[in-house]
Amino acid sequence: MMRLPKLLSMLVTLLACAFLLVPTLQSVLAGITANYFRGISSGLTLKWVIEVWTLYADSIFLSIWLAITCLAVTLILGVPAAYALARNPGRLSRVLEEFISLPLAIPGLALALALLQLYGSQQGFRAHWSFILVGHVLYTLPFMVRAVQAVLAAIDLKTLEEGAASLGAGPARRFVDIVVPNALPGILAGSLTVVTLSIGEFNLTWMLHTPLLKTLPVGLADSYASMRLEIASAYTLVFFVMIVPLLMAMQWASARAQRILS
């Protein structure tokens, strides 16, 4: 017989699972049911998913585009910086690291207000997709830097580099041939995190977007407010199909990078 504490903690675990899973299943089901109010008996259909595609395809493509450009920018800004920070672990590096991590501690809404009040009057920038990109990069950059830095801190970078330097490799050559290949598990984990977070980002994006530039989550908020439940659900289903594989890949890559660290 199972002891009472174990039974209780199993019950709590299962209840928590049900709390998280049941509404996601409801949303999947509602997205493919002809009439959610009448239930499954009204038949299964893909018409809501197709309607979502005609209504919101642009926002889906904008989100994919933003995620790709955000990844490119965080790679360019983050990987060399992580290397420099790992190479010079001093007080100054710590301060800089703290500073770029501020977007993790300050609510996105506050950051968006700050960006809007500084750059909002520059119409060319304000109405361009790169304005949303800036928000996404701000929010995802610390994840890239940390993921790469953690891997670089765990390997003996100095010895590797001295070996290469004694063979005549300059700093740029060492970065490309020694640092990047060794940091790859961290870069992969960081990249998947950046893409997953960028596709789902709402708090900053809602403030930074314009009516002509709606991302996937902005479109979701829009459909929750103004569309029938089946369309809102079908759109959420489309989002799940995109985000769940990414999340699983991200967790796999992070676990793999962790194993290399230990």
Binding site: F19, L20, L77, L113, G170, P171, G200
Partner: protein, 272 residues
Amino acid sequence: MKETPVTARSFGVLCLLPLLIFSLAFLALPLVRLVLSSSEGADGWSVYIRMLQTPRYLAALLQTLLVSGAVTVAALAVSTTAGLFLTRNRFWGRSALLSILTLPLAFPGVVVGFMIILLGGRQGLVNQITPGHVVIAYSTFGLFLGYLYFSIPRVLLTVMAAAEKIDPALEEAARSLGAPAYRVLWDVLLPALRPAMVAAGAIAFATAMGAFGTAFTLATDIDVLPMVIYTEFTLSANFAMASALSIALGVVTWGVLLIARSLSGGTVAAGG
């Protein structure tokens, strides 16, 4: 030939330069602008005094603190229980349960809000299976459920990482000395988990304080701080007060994470 330290150093600077320029232009300067903007209203710098004297803002602050505090306690209780159960038992379907519990990590706040609408909204599950008209989604309790929804996975992962590092010998020793289960939990497991619980609690609290997406979907009638900031900025065009309130909010969330980190010794970050 050995290279001069100068080349190595200038390469290091070159590596940092793009990040420095970006952070200066899009993080440092906008934050300075935000602080200055807060003083550019009719009240000047005393906008912060007026913020503390206006009942509506104070009530919103109190409401936000209460909901976030309640969510933190609930998420810690649920996730520590589930986390201990999942680390200490191996059974068929365990990894499936773990996947379900970490699923909401990638959900934006608006989607979490929609999940609560599906559970407790007008066409929601609770309303369908209970007699009478039960709509909980748009109440403070609905907001609490929404925040709990996205807090459970974050707390769970931190607690589980710590629970896996606890030496099983400690527990065995306590048990062989005759300690009952609740004493093992209270005297052995919870003290070992304390740093992780402080860190995870701080993340849950800070995330709930700043949660905008979920509040945007659910709290049409509830004054939580992010919603007040949003309406001040967009509807009332009261930029100074919106800036002052978001600075106050940012200082609270940043401060909570900082304190938690000095208590737990690890890295703590919110986000989402």
